[in-house]
Amino acid sequence: MEGLLFYVFGGLAILATLLTISAKNPVYSAIFMVISFGATAGIFVLLDAYLIATVEVLVYAGAIMVLFLFVIMLINLRSGEQEGLRWSPLVIVAAGTFLVLLGRAVGDLGGAVTSKPNDLVGSPGLLAESLFTRYVVPFEAVSMLLLAAILGTVVLSRRKEQA
């Protein structure tokens, strides 16, 4: 059952991502990207990472994609600027990177994999406990990063005459 769900979510994620990058209209791309992130959240649930799956839907599929849609609407692209995927020699770079990654993925991973899989469940309680004890410094660093991002966004989006 879980193997079947993996194929469903994995296939959906790849298919939606393909549609995202090949769509000519950015609005369609954003919608397909929401589906892609939703499918990825499903894969996270299969991996017992429940909090990450929730955050994925809330932040990625919710906040970030709403931001994208707002900017797409604000920019209001003319039809001439909506072009499809362009094939160039750079695709070879991407394909080479992919082959390396795929080789690592199916090949021998050495010491990265232990014989006994981790049976910890990524519940909010467990994650919060280590977030406020072992990872309290990265947690504070991220809060500073978010503050800097807020200020940077406000400064950047001001009009010139007001600056």
């Binding site: 299969l46 199916v106 977030l131």
Partner: protein
Amino acid sequence: MNLLAVAAEPGAVSGSLSSYLIVSAILFLLGLATILTRRNVLYVLMGTELILNAANLNFVAFTRFGGYELDGQMMALVVVMLAAAEAAVALAIVLRIFHDFGSIDMTRTDSLRD
């Protein structure tokens, strides 16, 4: 370590690490191809998000199969916050580029100042 063995494999943990890594690699490739081939800044940003998402999938998969407690999921949490901050700042920059250049074609935005 065969992709086709995922459905048949018994046990508490579903699938193998490789199958998750393959999906992640494919998503990474699609994001990278978007960044490299598109001239529209919005699509380049979308490619960045796809790449970060693929990295997240790797983190969570290694948490499951690597036996590193929940460190990987913590990293994934940080990456999600990073992606949110990056998207907010980058989209503000995109708006500025559109106002200053009248276009979001990356090949036309070739000057840093007036």
